[in-house]
């Protein structure tokens, strides 16, 4: 039987980037094939080409042996290709049913036949054992159900080949296991599956074959059972990678951050943080593990003054900073590496120099008479560029022209150089390549070794386990457990992240 998908010699360029370069990629019928690569390696681009969202500059695509030209998603869908994107493509105010049928609506005359739609959705939901509430509004359902809706969207259109882009980013370890079971069941029903991921553990547990992509080129295609995590890591990055972080013993001092019974509302006026008690000491890294959406963001926003707390106390170095403005929090010695560098961390249309002083722009050291001294500002930025090895032609270029890794380096440089007593790092390595990740990790450990306190919030469990001295797990707005790093296993953390009780599960 010919390969169900064959992509030959695919090339695709964007301004300044050769995203795909002569890529050959095949998928056999009934297999789960992983596309493995770092952030920015070109895997999503390749699949977007397969799904018709991009057009390749060179190369051909064959579906079940026949050459095809996929110029838009409708054509991909007609060939039985379905895609579940990394960031869900769901219309929030619509119902589950409306989201599934959009673009393929059953009709009754000129009108929508919503009754038939509901029936159809419930039918395929049962057939593939993907439980969803057909009448629920997407805004209100859980992340797990949203993912099932996304998968149903593809099956509703008769997908035989499913592409899943980073499907496990939003799941607990247990939910990842469940996803694995769903995928195997789909394969049994005759589907073929392409998984895009950068997570080595999932490759080993979920796939039959794996293709490694680096800098737009295919490095190798292997049978999963013939390889191991270290080999994959090396092929993915191009050099030997130490998968653990080097750090000395912690030298813990007094608490620098104390949170007492903190309650914070989210932007829908519901309680997102439901009474959190937490302490971070000088000289330690406290990591908060948890699946996205359990109140971590609201917690960070309340600490850094970007959100109001409903009740409770936040103390930095003994000083009460609850409900102070972001400016007052900064002046109290708190640094913040925000989770969204484009939204919060940088003003993309400002130069690097102007971004370097964001937060300390009021300081006397940048003044000249009544106004700002751009000479001093640029000098300062040049210092940061040198010390933190930021790759840029000069400090005058706009922040938007830097790569993600260098943008993050500037943010880290700015926050750390201000010598904070407490640093809050939220998803500090999201979207970065391995080199930049190593750099950020080194800097955070350096801060901790200098006797500062670091609060690390991350969705990457490995990162939390590698860097933290103590790990707190957040579930449903509460801290459900705090473990010393040496007692923390992925299994234990995973159970707590899903709201379970570690004692019962052991």
């Amino acid at each position: 039987m010919p390969a169900v998908i064959e992509m030959k010699g695919i090339g695709k360029s964007f301004p300044g980037i050769r995203a795909n370069d002569n890529i050959n990629f095949t998928v056999e019928h009934g297999e789960i094939h992983v596309l493995l690569g770092e952030n920015g390696a070109g895997k999503s681009t390749l699949m977007n080409i397969l799904y018709g969202l991009y057009q390749p500059d060179e190369g051909e695509i064959y579906v079940k042996g026949k050459p095809v030209k996929i110029s838009n998603p409708n054509i991909a869908i007609s060939h039985g290709i379905g895609m579940v994107h990394q960031h869900f493509m769901l219309v929030q105010p619509f119902t589950v049913t409306e989201n599934i049928i959009l673009g393929n609506e059953p009709r009754k005359g000129t009108a929508l036949d919503l009754d038939k739609a509901k029936k159809d959705v419930e039918e395929i939901s049962k057939k593939y054992e993907l439980k969803v509430d057909s009448r629920a509004i997407v805004r209100d359902i859980s992340v797990g159900m949203q993912q099932r809706v996304e998968i149903l969207k593809t099956l509703y259109r008769g997908a035989e080949i499913l592409i899943l882009d980073e499907p496990t980013a939003v799941l607990t370890p247990q939910e990842i296991e469940e996803l694995g079971i769903i995928l195997k069941s789909l394969v049994k029903q005759g589907k073929s599956i392409i998984l895009i991921t950068h997570k080595l553990k999932e490759v080993m547990s979920m796939s039959d074959r794996v293709t490694i992509v680096r800098r737009g080129k295919v490095i190798d295609t292997l049978k999963t059972k013939d390889t191991n995590i270290d080999e994959l890591a090396e092929k993915m990055v191009g050099r030997k990678v130490s998968l653990t972080v080097e750090k000395k013993e912690a030298n813990v001092g007094n608490p620098i951050l104390e949170i007492k019974n903190l309650k914070v509302l989210d932007n829908r006026k519901l309680e997102a943080v439901k009474g959190v008690d937490l302490q971070v000491h000088c000289g330690e890294i406290l990591g908060i593990a948890g699946v996205d959406g359990n109140g971590q963001n609201e917690l960070v926003q309340a600490i850094t003054g970007l959100s109001k707390a409903k009740s409770g106390e936040i103390l930095v170095n003994g000083k009460d900073i609850t409900n102070m403005t972001s400016k007052e929090v900064i002046d109290s010695g708190v640094g913040h590496i925000p989770e969204d560098r484009h939204k919060r961390g940088l003003i993309l249309s400002y130069s690097l120099a102007e971004n370097a002083i964001l937060g300390s722009h009021n300081s006397k050291r940048f003044r000249k008479g009544m106004g700002l001294s751009y000479k001093k500002i640029r000098e300062y930025c040049r210092k940061l560029i040198k010390e933190y090895d930021i790759r840029t032609p000069s400090e005058k270029v706009l922040a938007k022209s830097l790569s993600g890794g260098n943008q993050q380096k500037l943010i880290v440089a700015r926050e750390i150089d201000r010598d904070p007593s407490l640093c809050i790092a939220s998803q500090p390595t999201r979207g970065l390549d391995v080199g930049a990740i190593e750099f950020v990790h080194k800097k955070l450990i350096q801060l901790r070794d200098e006797g500062k306190g670091v609060l690390l919030v991350s969705l990457e469990l490995d990162e939390v386990m590698d860097l933290s001295d103590r790990i707190a797990v957040m579930y449903d707005g509460k801290i459900v457990g705090i473990l010393d790093a040496k007692d923390a296993t992925e299994k234990r953390l995973g159970i707590m992240m899903a709201g379970g009780n570690v004692k019962n599960a052991e």
Binding site: G11, S13, F14, P15, G16, I17, R18, D21, D57, R215, G216, K217, T304, L306, T325, S326, K327, V329, I330, D331, H336, P338, K343, R344, G345, L346, I347, L348, S349, Y350, E354, L358, G359, H361, N362, M370, G371, L372, Y374, K375, R378, E379, R391
Partner: protein, 370 residues
């Protein structure tokens, strides 16, 4: 080593870069206007020469052109300043009207003051009222999230009717459809008082005030902490908040400052040109024209000055074109086309398209990028 000269050179180069796109748009629009004139059977050369003659033909005409340019610079600055904070101060027209009538009141009510004091006071009152009128919009946007365009337009109409009410009741010149006149001590000095060349024009010191304000705006926006914060809020309010900047305060402040300029424009119109306020049938047009001026000037103070001169020439040269047999409404259409071009970023989009295609070719040839 940074030197003073280098910084100045950088500022000039940056300024030139910023006004390049609008200049090209203007060029294209004049060509389009020329084609329009030609289609009416008239010569574009005659038309455009008439424009220049009508606006700069002699000292008096020059003076009158400056009289028109002055409010355009200020309302242009008003709107440009708003845009730097990502606010569309379409309410500049209403702020102009309120500034004008407030100045009429201050010019009439405070008698017995020495001229220097009275003029300054009158102008300040006009600017302040404009600023307050604008801060309503700013407050509504900051505290409630209400859109500044709709509120601005509504306040324009409210200002129009309010001004008419005041002119016909509180400040009314009995049995007339205009207000009382301001005292002589409140009037801006006219060039005709010293230079006979300007004998027949109303050119006054307002133009100097406007130019000084433009320079002050440049300094405020680019060299001060307040300017840094306002521009930051304009580009990315979330990042600004993260950086400790009070977003709400800056939005209100930006609108207030913006309103000061528009109010000042109205005040100068009263103290320098009209010496009173008329009952208005419709909008003065200065606020609306300010939008065009700001857009074409790319929201840069120097660009605004040049752009204000451009529109001043178009407006003042119109009647001369009429004499040559070309309907002066053509000017309005040229204006409309210019704005459409600039608004659609036509030139910028085309240039960036070309740049991208060149980048694309470059990377397709290279193998892998850092």
């Amino acid at each position: 080593m940074e030197s003073r000269k280098n910084e100045l050179k950088d500022s000039i180069i940056n300024t030139l870069k910023e006004i390049a796109y609008p200049l090209i748009a203007i060029l294209i629009s004049f060509i389009a206007g020329g084609i329009l004139v030609y289609s009416f059977g008239k010569s574009p050369v005659v038309a455009y020469t008439a424009l220049i003659k009508g606006s700069f033909g002699d000292w008096n005409k020059f003076g009158e052109t400056l009289v028109t340019v002055t409010p355009l610079i200020l309302t242009g600055l008003s709107i440009a300043f708003g845009f730097k904070c990502n606010l569309f101060n379409i309410g500049a027209e209403g702020q102009f009207i309120m500034g004008a009538v407030a100045a009429a009141w201050a010019g009439w009510a405070f008698t017995g003051l020495p001229a220097i004091l009275h003029v300054t006071l009158t102008l300040l009152v006009g600017a302040a009222v404009g600023g307050l009128w604008a801060s309503i919009i700013g407050w509504l946007k900051a505290k409630i999230g209400s859109h500044e365009v709709i509120n601005g337009i509504m306040l324009n109409y409210i200002a129009l009717h309010m001004s008419n009410y005041i002119v016909m009741t509180l400040l009314n010149e009995p049995q007339k459809a205009y207000s009382v006149a301001i005292a002589d001590t409140a009037k801006l000095w006219r060039f005709s008082q010293a230079f006979s060349q300007f004998k027949h024009s109303r050119m006054n010191t307002g133009i100097i005030i406007a130019l000084v304000v433009a320079l002050a705006v440049y300094y405020l926006l680019n060299k001060t902490v307040r300017g840094y914060e306002i521009r930051a809020v304009g580009f990315n309010p979330d990042a600004a908040e993260y950086g400790g900047i009070n977003v709400k305060k800056n939005i209100i402040l930006a609108m207030l400052i913006s309103g000061l300029f528009a109010g000042l424009a109205g005040a100068i119109m009263t103290t320098g040109v009209q010496y009173r306020v008329n009952s208005l049938f419709g909008f003065t047009g200065y606020g609306l024209d300010g939008i065009s001026v700001a857009l074409v000037g790319n929201n840069h103070p120097i660009g605004v000055i040049l752009s204000a001169f451009l529109f001043g020439i178009l407006q003042k040269g119109g009647p001369q074109m009429q004499i040559q047999g070309i309907p002066k409404e053509v000017v309005g259409i040229i204006q409309g086309i210019i704005i459409l071009f600039v608004a659609s970023n036509l030139v910028r989009v085309i240039v960036e398209n070309i740049k991208q295609k060149k980048e694309l070719k470059k990377t397709a040839l290279k193998e892998g990028v850092e």
